[in-house]
Amino acid sequence: MVKKESYTRRDFINRGGRLTLGLALAGLGAVAVSRSGNKEYVWQIDPFECTQCGRCATECVLSPSAVKCVHAYDLCGYCDLCGGYFKPGVTDLQTGAEKQLCPAGAIERRFIEEPYFEYIIVEDLCIGCAKCVKGCASFGNGSLHLQIRHDICTNCNECSIARACPSDAIKRVPADQPYIIKGDFTREGGEET
């Protein structure tokens, strides 16, 4: 390490390069800041666009998936013959596993009063396959729907389910409003499709 006395050509190139790169970085940073959302973002499924294809169960980097079924009780009809609980064509409404649509047995059916039943999702068992969601949307009110559970989700830089989602239903949402729970039959606030 010899101390340099004079200002050499190499110093000049070095300094010029550094200045150029520094300015380039600053410019890039400034453009990005001007376009930043000033917020953190997380991934969420828009239940109004979900087509219940079943890929949420298989495409998540986690196994089982961070996508679980959520029950918007407000919308539930509390039916005895629940399209999300029973396999199609079941007439004998027993809670045997062979009668249930859910492959993981993750829906609990509880009697409330004649003729109403409450359906509870056991999240630890749910694999996010959307079979019940499809059943509920086809034969019921559509109160069962999929959501990404943020206590499980690792918030990957690019959600691998979003990439595979055929209906582009998985989007970045602001982290302070991390869920799109169906509260109504329409999108809240009349957002565009």
Binding site: V2, L21, A32, R35, S36, E40, L93, T193
Partner: protein, 444 residues
């Protein structure tokens, strides 16, 4: 009870049917726009919420909160702290042991605890997407993860690679018996990161994919959960890394391209010796990454040779535009192939070549497209727009790769005068191994 339930249901079913019919004409126009939730809109009338008499209280769906926003800022602060500490350890304290323990911490926190996400390497794609997609909003933390290591590299060299990168740390800790690789092989594989960076930027800019994250070989290990293929890829990299040190960093890492560029012009850099090099050659074999350059042999570096090489260097410089154009032309040939990675282009091509697939109820992508109400013309228009972007993008990518290749060849002619054993500023990861080999250190 069961039969009663059935009756109840069948009655409700009839009512529903009638109301669907009534509601249909009103919704006729809306159908086109809100086709996706027509079913839901009608579903409201299917089974009204019951009036409970037994005092049943309806539970609320639970909504566990995501990670606190403050913790994301904490991560940025921690990255800044780790970078500063790594820089101090490499440049001032000159402690290899310190850097080693810092990289263990990085591996534990940013790797296994934070699951390797978000990392500066992947953030290249977020920044690219910000520049090309006005709808995309980058979060400040991601931007800082991208910028901080680069700013540090511009001033102090690649200290990020030494102490703050979990991907680097996991490979660095598993270097067992590194072998020296011939410079030609190193130069050749050193071209791959440019290709990877270029493709990653192209795919991110066109909104196709985040390939860096998708093919990150170590993130599955950090998460302790990944498809078998990715685990095998990660294990293969780590296995190779025992003899070819830091294989991902040296032959793939796209962020390393940017860091290397910054570091080349860095204001300060790690030095092997704390004072004057005594040319003892002890450090020469100490670098597992072959990043230490020997002094130039003055017997070989004759004025005639210097003159000749300078001439060749300048001539190569004049050839650069040819390299850029040739690269652009060659890579742009692949734009049709590359654009197929985009879902819309893939789908449009598939439906044009095999329209009978529209009847295939098993094909989820096609079914979702048909349900979306988008017309075939719209899809084709969208796809051809994306393909045009790929055409432009591949020209730029090819031009960039041609330029890189040209500069790499130019540098082959250059014989820089070096008096001492010095780390190559672009390639050196600032890991500090060489410092322990310097005898001057001991006497100092």
């Amino acid at each position: 009870m069961n039969s009663q339930g059935n009756k109840e249901n069948s009655m409700r079913g009839n009512g529903m049917g009638k109301k669907v019919m009534q509601g249909k004409w009103i919704r006729g126009i809306l159908f086109l726009i809100f086709a996706s939730f027509l079913i839901l809109g009608n579903a409201q009338q299917r089974f009204p919420k019951p009036e409970f008499e037994t005092g049943y209280e309806q539970p609320d769906p639970s909504t566990p909160e995501p990670r606190l926003q403050a913790l994301e800022y904490f991560d940025v602060a921690l990255l800044l702290a780790v970078l500063s500490l790594a820089t101090w350890l490499a440049l001032n304290k000159r402690s290899r042991r310190g850097i080693l323990w810092l990289s263990v911490f990085t591996l534990a926190y940013f790797g296994f605890y934070r699951n390797g996400c978000i990392c500066p390497i992947g953030s290249i794609q977020n920044v690219t997407l910000t520049l090309f997609d006005p709808a995309y909003k980058i979060s400040i933390t991601v931007l800082l993860f991208f910028l901080l290591p680069l700013v540090f590299a511009l001033f102090f060299g690649r200290t990020f690679c030494a102490g703050a990168c979990p991907l680097g740390a996991i490979q660095d800790l598993l270097i067992i018996k590194p072998v020296s690789v011939s410079p030609w092989v190193r130069k050749a594989v050193g071209f791959i990161p440019h290709v990877y960076l270029g493709l990653a930027v192209l795919f991110a800019a066109t909104g196709t994919d985040f390939i860096i994250c998708r093919y990150d070989p170590f993130v599955g290990i950090f998460r302790l959960d990944a498809p078998v293929t990715m685990i095998l890829l990660g294990a293969a990299f780590l296995g190779l890394g025992m003899i070819f040190a830091r294989p991902y960093c040296r032959t793939f890492c796209p962020y390393g391209v940017l860091l290397g560029l910054m570091s080349r012009f860095s204001r300060r850099h790690l030095t092997i010796t704390p004072s004057e090099c005594i040319q003892c050659k002890l450090c020469a074999g100490s670098c597992p990454f072959d990043a230490i350059e020997a002094p130039t042999d003055e017997k070989i570096r004759t004025p005639a040779l210097v003159k000749q090489s300078m001439r060749r260097y300048v001539m190569m410089g004049f050839l650069l535009p040819v390299f850029i154009l040739a690269g652009g032309w060659m890579v742009s040939r692949s734009h049709v192939l590359l654009s197929r990675a985009h879902q819309d282009v893939y789908l449009a091509e598939l439906l044009i070549s095999r329209p009978e697939l529209k009847k295939d109820t098993e094909n989820l992508d096609i079914q979702a497209f048909l349900e979306s109400g988008q017309s075939m013309d719209q899809l084709v228009e969208e796809a051809s727009l994306i393909r045009t972007r790929f055409h432009t993008g591949t020209w730029i990518l090819g031009g960039y790769l041609g330029l890189v290749l040209g500069i790499m060849l130019m540098n082959q002619f250059l014989i820089r005068k070096k008096e001492d054993y010095t780390p190559h500023k672009g390639d050196c990861f600032s890991c500090g191994r060489c410092m322990d080999y310097c005898p001057v250190e001991k006497t100092h």
